[in-house]
Symmetry: C2
Subunit: 368 residues, 2 copies
DNA sequence: TTGTATGCGTTATCAT
DNA sequence: ATGATAACGCATACAA
């Protein structure tokens, strides 16, 4: 592996010149820069990140910690974050806390030595621990609202409010909220918005707990959901909603025939069947902007407790309809989503209509 | 931030002693270790990871590079890999190459200085470039067969062979393979196995190209797939298959009524509707074992070109049935998957039957 | 068992 | 515009 000295020798310049050719080219003669770059290319020289970090005190690394890599929401978020970090010349450590605060703390400690800052997505840590770690390294939170810390919040409250209104307008009188982790800020926000809107509209409101936001947990909670005697449910996220759909299918039940369902995230929603009515969250952008925020505080450009908020919209697809038994007061359009064009969505007042709601179903085994 | 020198001075020992108190305590007097540890604790000293890495050449880091973070296959793989690395005391860099060789090369170069080794999942690099990078740092390949390099291969050939046989036994006479990236080793394997088996069984065989393994690409290729005049298709992976299902749905077509469909990966398959007949790949285990392999070569325990192979099984779910028009020669069981228990699967000859194939469908909008 | 001296690959501070 | 040289914080061969 060639070092700066190898390049210096081959180019017949000093190591300082080589260093400057990469770090401060403007301080050098253009021809010299070109020469050094050429020799470096030929030798396959790449500045040693570790040595630079030791010398400058800046590691050039950030860490991204998420509760569950396999959740499509976090996957999309990671994609945006990693891409943005790379563009800015930073490398990204990945940490999967598996929804446990202890593991999250371990990752924070182990990584803090070689990282300039953290992006904590949906941290499961207590507020005091978050604050403690924030003292040691700059730290940006996603979907966690701690006063005084830089944070990026995806405001799902209007989305959930629109969703409850949507269900009410379809004629539903009793709805359930299938909850996420009780420690989760997002969960509190969504729960609160749904409960308040339901109360305002005079709907009966039930909360169904789950072990964690996952397909399996969603599937497992189907029993208690069915026992709640509701005609519609809002799930904490798309993955949970997908699990619920599977749980209903296992029992020969139908969506939205036997139960209307709304998810949250919007990444999974248009891909599954029936296409899931969901709250779209711009998760990729969230990852990007969180990293931008972190690099901002590292560069001293941002003030201490900056807070960025991202909006959400309800996207109506194929899993919400009028309840089975009660009188239908639904608007005609909700009875024939097949007429919407497949890949487009028209926006209006934070509500969109999504496509892909008309998969024909004859010939599926198990179906007469 | 206290350094090793501060501790040495405060404890009235040499810096080497402080260093050994943390690195090789067994070389020191027990009382000395205790003294140094105590002083370090009091001063809040923590060994500097960066400096140690520069001095020893061992960073305690590995890098994981994948073509697409948002693909559930890679997400599951990353989860296993990251978890295993953490257990062994290694931190994990994440790199998303976005399916492009250039970006992959950039990541390899930038990371090589602060990483002890790489795990390259489904590398899109040319063989010569892979070999070039392997000279600089230890490197383990996943689903890429380069002689002489340690690699973990998921052997999907038997799975695809069983899948073609399964389709043939249902009465299909013409099948398509919806391809992945032509650079992909997995794609060549799957294409080859499917083509050979089809030829052996006297089936007409068509290859449908796609831009990349994604939902959108699968959806986009539906037109050409329908033009191929086949009754069944095998997709490169589950994500592509899911896209095809959406593309068919957009045109009012049915799975498996109008087209039987088989995916590959098995992670998405049981979650979607209809449950996808797919080839199960143990992707989490693949990530774990690839990291284990890498740490093995780092520790000098493994020989140079070790090759681990993971087997696959066909899991029959709800997207394969007898073709619409041609005579049904299907075995009775394939007509009634509803009788299988939801979450279990019985294995036999590399073929399993998966559950969740009986979602009732009345009441879905767009369906009479 | 402990101390001394040197090197790891860069960047930064002086010089020139 | 470029070069010489001293840190950066630690590990280790060698000496004691």
């Amino acid at each position: 592996v060639p070092t700066i000295s190898d390049v210096a020798e081959a180019a017949k310049v000093s190591r300082a010149t080589v260093s400057r050719a990469f770090g401060q080219p403007h301080l050098l003669n253009a021809k010299t820069v070109e020469l050094v770059r050429g020799v470096s290319e030929r030798l396959g020289y790449v500045p040693n990140h570790t040595a630079r970090a030791l010398s400058t005190g800046r590691a050039g690394n950030i860490a991204l910690v998420v509760p569950d890599i396999t959740n499509p929401f976090f996957a999309a978020l990671m994609r945006g974050a990693q891409a943005r970090a790379r563009e800015e010349g930073y490398a990204t450590f990945l940490g999967d806390s598996d929804e446990t605060p202890e593991l999250e703390a371990v990752l924070l400690r182990k990584l803090s030595a070689q990282v300039e800052g953290f992006v904590l997505a949906s941290s499961r840590l207590s507020e005091e621990r978050v604050l403690a770690y924030a003292k040691r390294r700059p730290l940006v939170l996603i979907n966690r609202d701690v006063e005084g810390l830089p944070r990026l919040l995806i405001d799902t409250r209007p989305g959930f409010a629109r969703a409850v209104e949507h269900l009410a307008s379809l004629g539903h009188r009793a709805i359930a909220y299938v909850a996420g982790p009780s420690i989760s800020w997002s969960n509190r926000e969504r729960h609160g918005a749904a409960a308040r809107t339901a109360k305002r509209l005079g709907l009966r409101f039930v909360r169904i707990p789950t072990s964690r936001p996952s397909f399996e947990a969603g599937q497992a909670c189907t029993e208690s959901l069915l026992g709640a005697n509701v005609t519609a449910a809002l799930a904490f996220d798309d993955v949970t909603a997908q699990g619920i759909m599977a749980g209903l299918a296992d029992r020969g039940l139908t969506v939205p025939g036997d139960l209307s369902l709304v998810g949250c995230d919007g990444i999974l929603a248009p891909m599954i069947y029936p296409p899931l009515t969901s709250i779209a969250t711009h998760c990729g952008e969230a990852g990007e902007r969180a990293v931008a925020l972190l690099l901002g505080v590292l560069g001293g450009k941002h003030k201490r407790g900056e807070c960025v908020s991202l909006s959400t919209e309800l996207v109506i697809r194929g899993t919400t309809a009028a309840p089975k038994i009660s009188g239908r007061k639904a608007s005609p359009r909700s009875a024939s989503p097949r007429k919407t064009s497949p890949r487009k969505a028209s926006s209006c007042n934070g509500v969109q209509r999504g496509g892909r709601a008309k998969l024909s179903l004859e010939g599926i085994p198990g179906k007469p």
